[in-house]
């Protein structure tokens, strides 16, 4: 199926820039107004994404009312770069894919904003926090609404900046500052791929717009298409924390918990999946790059699941699970036309349940005096009933319990993976079992078992402003899959040239049954080790097992980066420094020394005796005269 060419937007659609402008303007106000805005800043900051959500909903209804061929609307704004054969216009593109993202970003984003009012209530810099959150949302909206890669890149970098500011929000902590810097640097590696890809597009197609690239890609050499695909994959790996650029995600937990929810559910890490799905034409033309996407996705989904099993920090377990779930999405996106819609479907349901669980984890931390160690929790189900129930909904959704959100989206991916390659299918299946194991472990250690609370901790349920978003997201985790299952593949297929098939609500297949069995096995194993009757050590037990140690150290991701990139880089820098000191400075300083030596001898001529000057002048005049005379004679 071909991608539909966008139609020109008229009337109401020309105002689509408001979607981005509202949160951007709110961010500017919040960051510039100063202390005067401390009392009302968080309300303005919360209203902005809600307004964007309302506008997005209007567009969604408008698109619903159109027929399939005219659902992709382009909204040109202005000429950005006009020089020679290049003419780059800033424009927005509203189609089935971007409107789903708009609704996810602003919808989940708004709930996270509301939650943050309560979560950050005692932070003296809450206004600034909301300014950064709005910036994040605005940048992400620009990313998904852009109609060409260059404008997308602006949003892409904006997301990187906002994540840096938010991960390092508690800048007084050295660990937070380091984590922010790490996220920024690792993302730059991905951006290298992204910017090279855009330059290649400009060189090959004289344009970076999706339409031109989609049309032109069929006529270029397979090598160029593959290069483009791999470069885009590198960019996607950086933003979506895929192996080998995964190391920043776990450290990013240093930011306030709503930030983690925003990064993991609505913005940032979904950008890589969006990029791959949006560039479907390139990946269709480059089978090798598609295979690379599948490999990256599969490796990451196992990698993240492994890390999730061995962490005691509740947020890091969730971070590992995000890596793993994004791996599923990449896997689906790499499979090709049959997988694109499933990738986005899982992305949306993941947005619901992961935001739900991160906000739930924030609520637990709120109750436990910001303690993140699950070994200090236990028996919280009674103390935090709302948090427990909503968290349980997210938990059932992520492990793929029947009729919960993740059940539909994940099963589709596993099935598609089996069709594409048995190896990827088995890996996805194993990943599902491991996910069930570590998520059950998280639930049991946090909410069940005996109290292992530290002294002076008195858990209490969070205020309404925090629990209402939890309830809404919990409900979405329960019914999200049911509601979207019959509709979203049909909706997305035209936008992504997809061939995904819509399955019924009750869709019994062999793969589905096997998945169920594997998931139940994962849950069972978890109960065996961490069940309510078992004693959980309240400090992390020391271990010799190399597998556990590897997991606790993030599978040596940091050690790998240090050994392969950081140390050789440092050595190269030092060598360059020495070369600069010895050779470059040597040449420059040597020239100076030689000239100085000559001139200090030469200046002795200036001895202060007038008569010696007279002698010199006479001699000089005599020489000049002699030369002239000789010239005449000759």
């Amino acid at each position: 199926m071909e991608t539909v060419t966008p139609v020109l937007g008229t009337g109401f659609f020309t105002l689509a820039w408001l979607l981005v402008a509202v949160p951007a303007a709110s961010a500017a106000v919040l960051l510039l107004v100063g202390r005067a805005g401390d009392r009302w800043g968080h309300f303005l900051g919360t209203l902005a994404p809600i307004a964007s959500f309302a506008i997005g909903l209007c567009y969604f209804v408008q698109l619903l009312g159109r027929d399939e061929a005219s659902r992709s609307v382009s909204v040109p704004l202005y000429d950005w770069i006009s020089s020679g054969s290049w003419n780059i216009r800033v424009g927005l593109q509203l189609d089935q894919l971007s409107i789903v993202f708009v609704l996810l970003i602003t919808g989940v984003g708004s709930l996270i904003h509301v939650y943050s009012i309560g979560y950050m209530a005692h932070d003296p810099r809450r206004r600034r926090f909301f300014g950064f959150l709005n910036l994040f949302v605005a940048a992400m909206l620009l990313l998904v609404l852009a109609d060409n890669y260059l404008v997308l890149f602006v949003g892409w970098e904006g997301v990187g900046l906002a994540s840096y500011l938010l991960i390092g929000f508690w800048q007084e902590r050295p660990s937070a500052a380091t984590a922010a810097k790490k996220a920024f640097v690792v993302n730059r590696v991905g951006d290298l791929g992204m910017s090279l890809a855009i330059m290649l597009m400009l060189a090959a197609f004289s344009s970076s717009s999706f339409t031109d690239v989609n049309e032109g890609i069929a006529g270029v050499s397979p090598t160029l298409a593959t290069t483009l695909g791999l470069l885009l994959l590198l960019g996607a790996c950086g933003k979506s924390a895929q192996v080998p650029l995964q190391s920043w995600l776990l450290d990013a937990m240093e930011g306030p918990t709503p930030v983690s929810a925003l990064i993991h559910a609505a913005t940032m890490v979904t950008a890589g999946v969006y990029l791959v799905v949006r560039s479907h034409a390139i990946f269709t033309a480059a089978p090798a790059a598609s295979v690379a996407v599948v490999v990256v996705g599969t490796v990451t989904l196992l990698f993240g699941a492994y890390i999730g099993c061995s962490k005691d920090d509740i947020k890091k377990v969730l971070a590992g699970s995000t890596m793993s779930q994004i791996g599923y999405m990449m896997l689906a996106a790499g499979i090709g036309p049959v997988g694109y819609a499933f990738a986005i479907f899982h992305l949306v349901t993941h947005g619901f349940f992961k935001a739900n669980m991160f906000l739930g984890a924030g609520s637990v931390m709120h109750a436990m005096d910001d303690d993140v160690d699950m070994r200090h929790y236990g028996a919280l189900a009674r103390a935090l009933p709302i948090t427990f129930v909503t968290f349980a909904a997210g938990y059932l959704a992520i492990i793929g319990f029947p009729f919960f959100a993740g059940f539909y989206s994940k099963d589709h991916i596993i099935e598609a993976a089996f069709h594409a390659s048995p190896v990827a299918g088995v890996c996805a299946l194993v990943g599902a079992g491991v996910t069930a194991f570590y998520m059950t472990r998280l639930m049991l250690m946090t909410f069940a078992g005996r109290k292992r609370w530290r002294e002076g901790v008195h858990p209490h349920e969070s205020p309404l402003v925090m629990t209402i978003p939890l309830i809404i997201l919990g409900a979405a985790s329960v019914v999200g899959g049911l509601l979207l299952n019959g509709w979203i593949t049909e909706w997305l297929n035209p936008a992504v040239a997809g061939e995904a098939e819509t399955e019924g609500l009750v869709h019994v297949t062999l793969v589905g049954i096997v998945t169920m069995v594997v998931v139940l096995a994962g849950v069972g194993v978890s109960f065996l080790f961490f069940g309510p009757q078992k004693t959980v050590a309240d400090v992390q037990p020391a271990t010799r097992s190399p597998f556990v140690r590897a997991g606790r150290r993030d599978l040596y991701g940091d050690a790998f980066n240090e050994a392969v990139f950081m140390r050789p880089g440092l050595r190269m820098t030092n060598d360059l420094l020495r070369f600069d000191g010895a050779v470059v400075d040597g040449v420059a300083n040597g020239t100076g020394t030689v000239i100085h030596g000559f001139s200090s001898r030469l200046r002795r001529v200036q001895n202060g005796f007038v008569r010696s000057y007279a002698l010199t002048m006479t001699a000089g005049a005599a020489v000049v005269g002699a030369i002239i005379l000789l010239g005449r004679l000759g």
Binding site: N607, G608, V610, R611, A614
Partner: protein, 98 residues
């Protein structure tokens, strides 16, 4: 006829040059400079006479004006140096050097 003037001019110039290079007294050195200037004036006027053109004479007038101005400034400097250092030897005034 002109040759004699030129020869006289050359002799005067040579005396001036040698005097400037050998004498230490500032006033004498100054007079030697004047001698060189006037030797060149003589040569200019002689050539002018020989060529039947006025260019050389005009140049001689310029030289005289410059020489007069130079004497004013030069003598003032010499007198000032003599007042501060009690010496008119040009070898004593050798502070301006490397």
């Amino acid at each position: 006829m002109t040759d004699h003037y030129i020869v006289l001019s050359a002799i005067l110039f040579a005396i001036g040059t040698i005097g400037f290079m050998t004498r230490r007294n500032a006033i004498v050195a100054f007079m030697c400079v004047e001698l060189m200037l006037n030797a060149s004036n003589l040569a200019l006027v002689a050539f002018s006479h020989k060529n039947g053109a006025l260019d050389g004479q005009i140049a001689a007038f310029f030289v005289m004006v410059v020489a007069a101005a130079e004497v004013v400034v030069g003598l003032a400097i010499i007198v000032t140096i003599f007042r501060t250092r009690r010496s008119a030897s040009i070898d004593d005034a050798n502070l301006l050097k490397f």
